[in-house]
Every structure is written in structure tokens, then in C-alpha cells.
């Protein structure tokens, strides 16, 4: 690699492509060959939405309002969701006679137990993967949860 890359030159070329709205560009000179491909400008947002929208107009699982099954999708950077790592039944307390592990407004530490998910008769303690304040509890006690479902929202401190 003797030849130095001339970034200034290439930048200029790309600017031109952008300005002129080109998709593909190839130039071959004696000792030099360049090929640039740009993504076509405004993409196919419309096309993409057609599918999920229409499919999701179908009956979905009755037990919960969970239009959003994708986990870590937050707009608010300080808001953190605890998601279910398994399928099972959600319990807020270790047994019916005990108080819940946590309540809304409570401050919690990392690795603190937040709830139990019962799966195949096994009681699985779910711990927090963040410290902060419990902003909301998103599932009712005794309700079924699926993998990836949001259980709590935590306001990180």
C-alpha cells in the first residue's frame, strides 16, 4: 500500500454524489479505481409498516396488553425496564401471606429480588439488574407473563 488515500478527494466526491442524488458511481483512471454506492434517500418506511400493522389487527393474546414485546426500547434514558427472562406466572410476594417484595416508589438496589415467576412449579426469584426507584409495576399479581415482557419500570438513580 504505497499510495496514500486522499480523503479530501474522496469526501469531495461523496458530497457530489449526495448533492446530485446518485446511487452508484464508478470511476476508473489509469492508476486509480473508485466505486461508491449510496443508499437511496428516503427509504421504504411505508412499505415496512404495512405488514405488522395489518397482522396485528388480528386477535392477539387476550391475557395482557403487551403491544410492545421488544424489551429495552425506551425513549427516556433514565427509565429502565425489568423484563421477564422466562414464561410463567408472576407473583409479587414469596407466598400469599407475605408482603410484596417491593412497592411503587420504593428505592431498590441492584440484585434485589423484585418478584417471583413460577414456571413448572418452580419458584424463580427475579432480581433487579439496576438500582433506582420503582416507578411502576406493570403486571398484576398472579398473572401470566411471557418471555421478554416488561415487569417493572425503574427510574435509575
Amino acid at each position: 500500500m504505497k499510495s496514500k488515500i486522499d480523503y479530501k478527494e474522496i469526501s469531495k466526491l461523496i458530497d457530489l454524489l449526495e448533492k446530485k442524488n446518485l446511487i452508484d458511481f464508478e470511476l476508473e483512471l489509469e492508476d486509480f479505481k473508485i466505486k461508491i454506492s449510496r443508499e437511496p434517500s428516503k427509504p421504504k418506511i411505508r412499505e415496512v409498516t404495512v405488514v405488522p400493522e395489518s397482522i396485528q389487527s388480528r386477535p392477539t393474546t387476550p391475557e395482557k396488553d403487551k403491544e410492545d414485546t421488544t424489551p429495552h426500547q425506551t425513549e427516556d434514558n433514565n427509565l429502565h425496564y425489568i423484563i421477564s427472562p422466562m414464561v410463567g406466572t408472576f407473583y409479587r410476594a414469596p407466598d400469599p401471606s407475605s408482603p410484596p417484595f417491593i412497592e411503587v416508589g420504593e428505592d431498590i438496589k441492584q440484585n434485589q429480588t423484585l418478584c417471583i415467576i413460577e414456571a413448572m412449579k418452580l419458584m424463580n426469584e427475579i432480581e433487579s439488574d439496576a438500582a433506582g426507584m420503582v416507578e411502576d409495576i406493570l403486571v398484576e399479581n398472579g398473572e401470566p407473563v411471557e418471555y421478554g415482557q416488561k415487569l417493572f419500570s425503574i427510574r435509575k438513580t
Binding site: V50, T69, V87
Partner: protein
């Protein structure tokens, strides 16, 4: 009858099971991985539960999550489809523990048939002809050598825990045996966690023929006309037809009878398939049994006009077989598996389906969970559709399949449609004189030319 069934699968077979369940008035629960959240099987079910991330081992193979999904949705039965957990005896065992019906044979039968070597011994007792080979597991090279010398080369090494061609090795002469034996042991160990191998005589120009049976808890049994599965690449079927050009009605009766007797012998209760090798002298030998619905079940349904999945569910619910002995098949049927793969390199071709139109019309059946706008995830198998044809004669069924594939429009991913058309117009295929070597030869010829 069940009131709700969980379908522990995805793709076209999940939709096929859903169809059968709905027709029987059974509610359906779909399970899906995160990468399948926009899948058709999830959207069309009455309920759907996300059971894990994309990786199959954490979702479609995750027994606790699937069983939990069944329990929280108050399901009474689970249908495993094919692949994934369908032949894992642990799955029906856990179902039983949790009080869930399993749409398949009992775990005990599955366990016997899942151990390919044990199945071989068991079927020998059932008086099925088995291939000359080892009496049991071959632990080391010297026993392998002894057996190979006894039965004569070529031989085939097979993994006892096998399936899908893994740990399978054809050995043509003694000098290469030791090396191949070691490779096969290692392959088997890494694929199934079990290095056990057994040996069978290998027939070069044989046919791969299978007999579908259905048997209920009262012992009513019915075997159906053979499916010809010799069009294979690396032990993967890509096109199947029924009946076979190679089997006359006398041999057909004999093979059906043998399969029915074998099912009786092990008190089989469900749908199942007995796979046979048929040699050039038209001797047939038991190879293995599949204790679940086959990918290629549609062609049997088309020639008989029956619904095997409904029967399978009904048998699991303790009902009697509804199909009566004496039913006759009509015409000829061919299934073409459409895979999202490069037709030359066979590399999988996942991606977004930009445009999709399936063919329809007379004698055409489509089994698919693909839709326009769907992105085929790269995590699972590449089967995107089965296009099956049915016509009074084989020649017409072939023409129908060709026409259907030509009228299929699929843009966005590469498919093996060109390969299928190549098979369907090949003169040996048209004559019906092909064997398990056919497709490999066809591909080799094309590549070399």
C-alpha cells in the same frame, strides 16, 4: 376432545397444525421466539406467547418455557410438529408430568425409536427385514473392521442418536475405514453428545421409500401407499412423490403390511413413518422410524383425500382412527420443497420477501407461512413453502408441479425453484428411474458443465 392446543413449532407446520385444530374446534396457542414476533403462526393463533430469544435452544427447544406457556394458557395438549422437540422423549415425559396430552406416541416408544440402533434391533424382533449390519453399537475400529468384512463394502456408519445425515459416513474400502470411523464418532459426539455408531450395508443404487402409518389406542392401524423420497441432497429430501414408480401393487401391499405389523408390535399410537431402503432386486430393508408427522405428509393426504393431522390429534385425544381400512389412493402427487437458498451453492438465503405470489388452481396445494414483506430470519431452517400437485397420472402431476413453480413469483430471496424445475424436467426423473444418488449426480453434472 381437547379444548385448547399449544403448537410447539413455527413456520408452515405450525399453520398446518393450526388449520387442523381449528377444524376440530380446538383453540390454538402459538409460541414464538423474539425473531418470530411478526410471523404468521403467531398472528393467526387465538393466543400467542413469546418463549425466548431467536436462538432455538433458548426458545423452540426450551422445554420449561414451552410447558409454562401451556400451563399459563390452560392448554390441554401440545403438538410438537416436526423437528425441534418432536422426537425428544423428554418432551412427552414432561408433558405427562404436567398433565398435558402430547400429540405423538408415548415417550417409551419414542425413546426406543429415537435410538436408531435399538430401533433396528426392535424391528428385527418385529420381523421387519433389516439391513445386514452390526448387531449393536460398534465401540472401536477393530469391531468395525470385523463387521465390515463380514457384510462386505461399501458400508455406512450411522450415529445411534442420529438424524439429518450427521455422523453418517459411507465407507467403500477397508483402508479408509479407520479414519472415517473416527470422524463419524467425533461428528456424532458433537452433534448429539453421543459417539455411538452402528454399521449397515450400503446400497449404491437404492430407493428411499417410506410407509406412513396411523394407529390408535385400540390397535386400529392403517398403512398408506408409499412415499418415494429418493430425491435427496446430503440425506435431505427436497421432492417427494406418491406412489413410487418403482413399487408395484404386490410389493406395496407387502410393505404396508410389514409397517402395520411393526406398528402393532411396538403398540405404536399416533402417526408414524417407517423408512425403508429398497434395493435393485426390490428387497426392502427397515432403516428407521419417524415418530412424528413428516414434512411430506401432504402428498399422502392429496391422493387419499384425508387429513392426517386431524387424525393424529384425534388419536391423542383417545379417539378411534376415522379412516377405514380399504380406502384407496387416487392419482399421483408430488411435493416440491421451496427453500430460501442459493440454487447453486445451497447457501441459505434469508432476507426480506419483497414480492410473493403463490400459484393456485386445480390440483395445487400450498403449505407456507411466508408472506410478502416478511423477513425470513436466519436462525431456523430454510423451508419457506411446500408446493404440491395432484393429478390422475404421474405425467400430469409433473406438468402441474412445473406449471405451479413457473407461476410462482418470489422476489427478495434466492430459492431452489430452478433446481426443482431442473429435477422435474430431467429425463431420468420423467422415466421414474432414479435413486438416492440421482440429485447429487444431477448437481455434479450441472456444476461441471
Amino acid at each position: 376432545m381437547f379444548s385448547k392446543i399449544l403448537i410447539a413449532n413455527r413456520g408452515e407446520i405450525a399453520l398446518r397444525i393450526m388449520q387442523a385444530a381449528k377444524e376440530l374446534g380446538i383453540k390454538t396457542v402459538a409460541v414464538f421466539s423474539e425473531s418470530d414476533k411478526d410471523s404468521l403462526h403467531a398472528s393467526l393463533a387465538d393466543e400467542k406467547i413469546c418463549i425466548g430469544p431467536a436462538k432455538a435452544s433458548e426458545s423452540y427447544l426450551n422445554i420449561p418455557n414451552i410447558i409454562s406457556a401451556a400451563l399459563i394458557t390452560k392448554t390441554d395438549a401440545i403438538h410438537p410438529g416436526y423437528g425441534f422437540l418432536a422426537e425428544n422423549p423428554r418432551f412427552p415425559e414432561v408433558c405427562q408430568q404436567e398433565g398435558l396430552a402430547f400429540v405423538g406416541p408415548p415417550a417409551s416408544v419414542m425413546r426406543i425409536m429415537g435410538d436408531k440402533n435399538r430401533a433396528r434391533q426392535e424391528m428385527k424382533k418385529a420381523k421387519l427385514p433389516i439391513l445386514p449390519g452390526s448387531d449393536g453399537i460398534i465401540k472401536d475400529f477393530s469391531s468395525a473392521e470385523k463387521t465390515a468384512k463380514k457384510i462386505g463394502f461399501p458400508i455406512i456408519l450411522k450415529a445411534a442418536a442420529g438424524g439429518g445425515g450427521k455422523g453418517m459416513r459411507i465407507v467403500r474400502s477397508l483402508p479408509s475405514l479407520e479414519n472415517q470411523f473416527n470422524i463419524a464418532q467425533n461428528e456424532s459426539n458433537s452433534a448429539f453428545g453421543n459417539p455411538d455408531l452402528y454399521i449397515e450395508k450400503y446400497f449404491e443404487n437404492a430407493r428411499h421409500i417410506e410407509i406412513q402409518v396411523a394407529r390408535d389406542s385400540k390397535g386400529h392401524v392403517i398403512g398408506f401407499a408409499e412415499r418415494e423420497c429418493s430425491v435427496q441432497r446430503k440425506h435431505q429430501k427436497i421432492l417427494e412423490e406418491t406412489p413410487s414408480t418403482y413399487i408395484d401393487s404386490k410389493l406395496r401391499k407387502k410393505m404396508i403390511k410389514a409397517a402395520e405389523s411393526a406398528a402393532d408390535f411396538i403398540d405404536y399410537q399416533s402417526l408414524g413413518t417407517f423408512e425403508f431402503l429398497v434395493d435393485r432386486k426390490k428387497n426392502f430393508y427397515f432403516m428407521e422410524a419417524n415418530t412424528r408427522v413428516q414434512v411430506e405428509h401432504p402428498i399422502t393426504e392429496m391422493v387419499y383425500g384425508i387429513d392426517l393431522i386431524k387424525e393424529q390429534i384425534q388419536i391423542s385425544a383417545g379417539q378411534d382412527l376415522k379412516i377405514s381400512q380399504g380406502i384407496e389412493f387416487r392419482g399421483h402427487s408430488i411435493e416440491c420443497r421451496i427453500n430460501a437458498e442459493d440454487p447453486d451453492s445451497f447457501a441459505p438465503s434469508p432476507g426480506k420477501i419483497e414480492f410473493l405470489v403463490f400459484p393456485g388452481g386445480e390440483g395445487i396445494r400450498i403449505d407456507s407461512a411466508a408472506y410478502q414483506g416478511w423477513t425470513i430470519p436466519p436462525f431456523y431452517d430454510s423451508l419457506i413453502a411446500k408446493v404440491s400437485s395432484h393429478a390422475p397420472t404421474r405425467q400430469q402431476a409433473i406438468k402441474k408441479a412445473i406449471t405451479a413453480l413457473e407461476m410462482t413469483t418470489l422476489v427478495g430471496v434466492k430459492t431452489n425453484i430452478p433446481l426443482q424445475l431442473n429435477v422435474l424436467s430431467n429425463s431420468d426423473f420423467l422415466k421414474g428411474t432414479y435413486d438416492t444418488q440421482f440429485l447429487e449426480d444431477l448437481i455434479a453434472k450441472k456444476t461441471s458443465s
